[in-house]
């Protein structure tokens, strides 16, 4: 069976591979590239656990046809640290106890990063909007909202 060649940037590294028709980006990242930070939660676009950034914008990798990222830059949670240093959002999530089971956390962090990259000082309402496509069943959202706001203010004061 013919496969389609595909090249894109994955967390700053060029990758080239062959994919089956109809394969989604989440499968490419997890099964073919071994980057398991984006999670499968629904495959329907409803939970946000698979959120990644494509050219800096939040996308649902489970609904992204692999071919659609040809030549583009894909960023996952695996790529947001600077060397060994946690991203301010990662620090704020940890300090704010904004994760319990941890399964929604990668998607939450990427949705929050997409927000802060464009809007470094968001209002609470803007944070709520930014994570509105991400389901968390454990925390009740409050610690997550607070963590994003804390990350924003820590970056402002840094």
């Amino acid at each position: 069976m013919a496969k389609t060649p595909l090249q894109f940037r994955h967390n700053g590294r060029d990758v080239a591979l062959f994919v089956d028709g109809g394969t989604n980006l989440l499968v490419v990242l997890r099964e073919m590239l071994g980057d398991v930070t984006p999670k499968f939660g629904c495959g329907q676009g409803g939970c946000g656990a698979c959120t990644v950034l494509i050219d800096g914008e939040a996308h649902l990798s489970c609904l992204t046809l692999a071919e659609a990222v040809e030549g583009r830059a894909v960023e996952t949670l695996d790529g947001i640290k600077t060397g060994p240093n946690l991203h301010p959002l990662q620090r704020a999530f940890a300090e704010g106890f904004a994760a319990q089971c941890g399964y929604c956390t990668p998607g939450m962090l990427m949705a929050a990063k997409a927000l802060l990259d464009r809007n470094p000082q968001p209002s609470r309402e803007q944070v709520v909007e930014a994570i509105s496509g991400n389901i968390c069943r454990c925390t009740g959202y409050e610690p997550i909202i607070n963590a994003v706001l804390a990350a924003a203010s820590s970056r402002a004061s840094a």
């Binding site: 069976m1 389609t4 089956d20 028709g21 109809g22 394969t23 989604n24 495959g43 329907q44 676009g45 946000g48 959120t51 494509i54 914008e57 939040a58 996308h59 649902l60 489970c62 609904l63 992204t64 046809l65 071919e67 659609a68 949705a111 997409a114 927000l115 709520v128 909007e129 930014a130 994570i131 509105s132 496509g133 991400n134």
Partner: protein, 273 residues
């Protein structure tokens, strides 16, 4: 058999690939077709894509604005000239869905989705279709009534009128979940006024029938009258006429009929939902 992905530069080629293959689906932003594939819908054997720049165009210069079918809601939100469509675009999905979902795809979204289409319907929307026969424009209302028969055609763009003033167009989505949830009822109203009276009102409702529909009785109740409490009350009273809501997991048909007038009244009188 894996799915075959066919990518075309020209719209006409994509359209003919689509119309010649019953197992082909057109992939826009992915939020509908990729979901079906993920869920194991084996009726889809071919995915058709088109890279034609016409799909991405936005022409907001004239009295009618034209938006390519491949334009995402995020792009609508980034376009200052489309500010009147921003509330509708913002009511869809979370940010990631808005970065993917397209204006064209929204025309095909089954309930409880398809809110942007409600706004277009109130703004005299037209659909540009590319078929084997070439390009033609179909009124959105007509398109929605025969949506399933358009499966083989390709939507190139949608167009709608620009409201006379910012206040002349109102949009509201009633959802259980905040800030984002599926539609209980979606309402859009275009209320041009001339000499203090409403002329050519168009009111569209989502989730009140299998597809977005116009609330024509409510439109008639406003026609030629000042937008005052009495006219609004009459329109609210007529809001349910001609609708055919169904039960779904978000609300029952009874509930939708019961509150559609309340929400229309609040929308028209500028009250919070």
């Amino acid at each position: 058999m894996p799915v075959t992905v066919k990518t075309f530069q020209a719209l006409s080629e994509a359209a003919s690939a689509l119309s010649s293959d019953r197992a082909a689906r057109y992939l826009g932003g992915g939020t509908l077709v990729m979901r079906d594939l993920n869920e194991g819908d084996v009726s889809i054997a071919t995915v058709v894509r088109a890279t034609d720049r016409a799909l991405q165009g936005i022409d907001a210069a004239g009295a009618r604005v034209r938006v390519g079918a491949g334009v995402t809601f995020a792009r609508v939100l980034a376009e200052r000239d489309l500010a009147f469509l921003h509330p509708a675009a913002r009511s869809i999905g979370g940010p990631a869905v808005r970065n993917m979902g397209t204006v064209g795809g929204n025309l095909f979204a089954p309930a409880p989705f398809g809110d942007f289409t409600v706004a277009l319907l109130a703004l005299d929307g037209m659909v540009s279709l590319q078929g084997g026969f070439g390009l033609r424009d179909v009124p959105l209302e007509e398109f929605l009534q025969s949506r399933d028969r358009h499966a083989g055609a390709l939507v190139v763009a949608v167009s709608c009128i620009r409201p006379a003033s910012a206040d002349a167009f109102r949009y509201r989505k009633i959802a259980r979940i905040k800030p984002k949830g599926g539609s209980v009822i979606t309402l859009a109203a275009h209320l041009p006024q001339s000499g203090g009276r409403v002329t050519g009102a168009r009111i569209a409702l989502g989730s009140m029938a299998p597809t977005a529909i116009r609330a024509k009785a409510a439109e008639r109740a406003l026609e030629g009258r000042p937008l005052d409490a009495s006219a609004i009350g009459a329109a609210a009273g007529a809001a349910g006429e001609g609708t055919a809501p169904t039960d779904n997991s978000l609300a029952s048909a009874w509930y939708r009929r019961e509150v559609v007038g309340v929400h229309l009244r609040r929308l028209l009188s500028g009250q919070e939902s």
